[in-house]
């Protein structure tokens, strides 16, 4: 077995006549922080949704940790070890912060409703352990003391952290972050960047993120993939991507490279 945690081969996802993901090949080595970038509508979130079972792919193969993801329900994929956050934060708004994280730990919980009715000691122990672990995660993401707040009453930045804490509850091997710094100010963005690095360094989680902020992408990614119209148009180290004319054209339109070159020459 290769040491890729994720391998996608010739993945196709169609919406009617639109090819949202067009014969995409993608490999993600274990333990890496990788980014996917691309203009709006490039198919980045669609790819995430295919990975997490929100969509079923039309063609191709998807392998995680050596086993196929095709045909699995999204809860089964989470149980295998892929967790995610959402582009537009989707917390359980009317539940408390602590409850949100406790729900995140679902894949590792065993107690049944019958046990709960009977008040079995094993169930009580599991509930206590779940709550204790939720508090640990709360501390880890820096939200200590906010456990009893309703999720929707948290400030924006804290909601992003909570989403990550909730995803960590499942003890994932691979964490998918969909625009983790969207809407943050530069200071919060810097904090989040360091935090993502900590997730990999301290917890050993492989991280794949969609991101628009080039500072974040270039700062911590070890591999950058560029999508446009559902196709992969470039892949490589951050520095390589930065100067790739195809990428610049995809973002700024045809002729942009030439114009930039001319500008540089003038300067």
């Amino acid at each position: 077995m290769s040491d890729n945690i994720l391998e996608a081969h010739q993945v196709v996802k169609r919406f009617g006549g639109l090819l949202a993901t067009d014969h995409l090949d993608y490999e993600l080595p274990r333990g890496m922080i990788a980014s996917i970038i691309g203009p709006n509508g490039a198919g980045k979130t669609t790819f995430f949704n295919c990975l997490t079972g929100f969509y079923q792919i039309d063609e191709g193969t998807l392998d995680f940790n050596g086993s196929s993801l095709i045909g699995l329900e999204s809860y089964e994929i989470t149980q295998l070890g892929i967790s995610r956050t959402f582009q537009n934060i989707r917390l359980f708004n009317n539940m408390t912060v602590l409850e949100n994280i406790m729900v995140g730990q679902e894949p590792h919980l065993k107690s049944s409703w019958i046990g709960a009715l009977l008040g079995l000691p094993s169930v009580r122990r599991e509930e206590e352990a779940t709550e204790a672990r939720a508090r640990e995660l709360l501390d880890f993401v820096g939200l200590r003391g906010l456990g009893d707040q309703l999720a929707k009453n948290l400030p924006y930045g804290d909601q992003r952290r909570l989403e990550i804490a909730r995803a960590l509850g499942a003890k994932p091997k691979l964490l998918l972050l969909d625009e983790p710094t969207a809407g943050m100010n530069p200071r919060e963005t810097a904090q989040t960047t360091t935090f993502i690095k900590r997730l990999r360094d301290e917890l050993g989680i492989t991280i794949l993120m969609i991101e628009h902020d080039m500072k974040v992408v270039m700062g911590i990614s070890e591999k950058v993939t560029v999508l446009d119209y559902g196709r992969k148009i470039a892949e490589g180290l951050p520095q390589e991507i930065q100067s790739n004319p195809v990428v610049i054209e995809a973002y700024l339109g045809k002729g942009a490279t030439a114009a930039l070159m001319a500008q540089e020459k003038q300067a």
């Binding site: 997490t52 079972g53 929100f54 329900e73 999204s74 809860y75 989470t78 149980q79 967790s83 995610r84 959402f86 989707r90 359980f92 708004n93 009317n94 539940m95 408390t96 409850e99 406790m102 729900v103 995140g104 679902e106 894949p107 919980l109 107690s111 049944s112 409703w113 709960a116 009715l117 008040g119 169930v123 599991e126 509930e127 779940t130 009893d148 707040q149 309703l150 009453n153 909730r166 509850g169 499942a170």
Partner: protein, 594 residues
Amino acid sequence: MNEELRGTIKTGLIAGVVTLSLGMIGILVAFNKRFIVTDAVTLADLLLFGMAVIAGYLGASSLKEHSMGRRLLHGGLAGMLAAVPTFLLILLTLVWEGIRDSFINVEPALVSLLTLDNENVVVGGILLIVVFGVLGLVGVGYAQLPVRFRRPISMSLAWTIGSGVMSDILIGILRPRMSNDTLRSLFGSTGLQPVPFVVLFVLLTAVFFWWQQGGQTRYQTLRQNFTPRQQKSSRRVSISLLVIFLLILPSLLGVYLSEIFNEIGRFVLMGLGLNIAIGLAGLLDLGYVTNFAVGAYIMALLTSSSQFGPENPWSFWLAVPICVVAAMFTGFILALPVLKMRGDYLAIATLGFGEIIRVLARSDALKPVIGGAQGILQIPAAQIGGFMAQVMGYILNPINNLLSRFELGILATNSNGDIVFGNPPQLYYLFILASLLMLFISRRLNNSRTGRRWMAIREDEDVAAAMGINTTNAKVLAFTLSAASGGLAGAIFAAKLGSIFPSSFELLISINVLALIIVGGLGSIPGVIVGAFALVGIPQLLSEFAEFRLLLYGIALIGMMLVRPEGLWPSEVHRREIHSHGEDETAVPVSVKP
């Protein structure tokens, strides 16, 4: 015309239109028969003149920055305007002889009520406007009172009026324990006598005032200073007092009130079940009556001694678990086709199930099995006999002997030494037992991992799945467990009535149960009980309400949505939410609250 004047006129006219509607739909005349203060004030008077006070209060409190004179002016104007629409109605009756052909409720009784019993209706109508104006001024005065006086007065007024309205019940409870003379000095045929009314009002005001001015804080500090040991024992004492109270309640209430409690109990049972589906898992189930019907019919089929029952009818106690399981099985089966549906679509589909069950119960095809429209008769009451009854008799009889000295009692054996749950006070124990059991189960589920999964699905089904929750299983489980309580209610219902007919399983039951959990507070277990008391208990207590029951349901629901969307007794989370909103504004940390 300035802004404020326009506001006042609007307030006054709205109050007037409400008054007019109350009259035209017949509420005023119907309520005029129930006295709050004997031979002086009726429930209709309260509504009618209350409207003037409210108009004055609202008219004055909309202008904050003005002199007393202007406030009185605005309040009085609003009060007077509140009588104008009814005055126009009175004028209309003079020119339109046949008004009753179109508006059946505009009867002489209404006109005489709206003209303060004056011979000359025009004079009477004008008099009403004047009285309304004066009452508007009273409203202004009330608005001027500082809150620390206003709150105790409002509360004690509400309690005193409540005791006046519910005087039948109070009489029923007090009759065995008081001499007729004392009773007659307190109550009239309906309503409190004037002197006791005033005394009660003053007393209650004093108590509420004391409680607010220091009693409450003193009580709380006292409780806070309890050692853990004392806390534990104080809890134990209050729980045992509650249990004793619940046990002797039916003998305190008498037959009629016990029956009302049983009706409430039936709806509490169904409410607790539906609360699992709607309140916790967010599955809008409008066909809850299905589970109730299945429970009732299975009970009938297993225990009836008529041709529909088995050759050797089962005992109630053996049949109950079968009824519950059958209802759960129905819930499970019905959950399967609707799993992919959400929100409105789910509601419509489940609504369909509710209708299907009614049509099936009535159908000729199933008539040989479940009796069609003639229903199933001869269902015996639940009873405990033999050895078990003997044992219970040994325990219960001495207690009953002791309690009978105070005209009280608990569950009793009959002359054969059996315990028969036949009459309302005996049935009460069955309902209370079932309700407590379901309360316990609901609480356990609510605070478990299962409850958390349901709530996550309610909040966002896709994300719940992405957290590793098998949403299909969780939803099927919610439907199945929610059905159990309905089945139990149905089983007891069948044994209580002794016969069941398809007409008992109308859509209206589903709607009633839904309404009571919304009014009580979605997802809140105490809310189910409060909601059942409000929507099932009160209409049963006040026979005048019966005719307007559905109208009042509608008003209650709309009013709740506007004023208190979280319900009368909101769930923990909702309460926290309101709490935290308050905090956002004032930025006071939680612990500072007294």
